[in-house]
């Protein structure tokens, strides 16, 4: 009983970190895409100075 449950505990933490790292990667990609698009449209990097 003890030994077999370690598999499930491990699986739980693996699933947790796959989700966390996966979401981090996904949102970082979305951020990079957005920044690239912004720079493409305005010729400026986002966060640099007030724009109109």
């Amino acid at each position: 009983m003890e030994a077999s449950n370690w598999g499930f505990v491990t699986a739980a933490y693996v699933v947790t970190w796959v989700l966390i790292v996966g979401y981090l990667a996904y949102s970082q990609r979305a951020l990079n895409r957005a920044r690239a698009e912004y720079t493409r449209v305005t010729g400026r990097k986002p966060g640099q100075g007030e724009g109109a």
Partner: protein
Amino acid sequence: MTDDVHSVQVPRSGGWTTFGVVSIAALIATQVFAFISSPPDVNMGQLEKILYVHVPAAWVMFLCFAIVLVYSLRFLWKGREEDDLLAAAAAEVGAIFNGLTLLLGMIWGKPAWGVWWVWDARLTSTLVLFLVFVGYLALRAFVEDPQRRGQWSAAVGILGALNVPIVWESVTWWRTLHQMPSTMQDMAKIYWVGMFANFGAMVLVMVYFIRRRYEAAAIERAAEHAAQAAALGGDE
């Protein structure tokens, strides 16, 4: 509502990247801490270690619903697009933590109850709430006009958040009136210090997730605004 998202000043990543690193490190630290210092669980063969992620994830899910509620109300009240984008980010992050709660609940349940799913009150309610999140995100995916998308999402988000306690209560009644096995927490000795520490760290991660998602959405909208302005300006 012609609010220019472009005016949202996105700070250089320096500040938030550090925050992100700190929050992830904190989560690892609190998980290790709970793992090592929680009392050994004789009956369940260390199974209750899963709860130190499963329960905080559920609490973070509720927190995300609350954030969606607050920012949806703010958006309807003030009409600032930033509020809509933040609510949407919180909904997406909420769906992630909701999904995590479900997966961990099932991974706990298989050895504990022998099956991958039981219609336990909490697990079932969590599943329904996941579908509520999904509905919100689907609505946003199908509506292109930002103004319409914002107002519709806000209404759906507010009603959805309103329904959270009602869903919870009704599913619980449904289970108690028909005798059900004891819930997860009853079956394990919980080490609450570890639980709250993990919750704290997970909140930090949640904040970082929402911030990153919001940033991306805000910059994207700012780019769209700028492109529109350029198109209108050049079209003379």
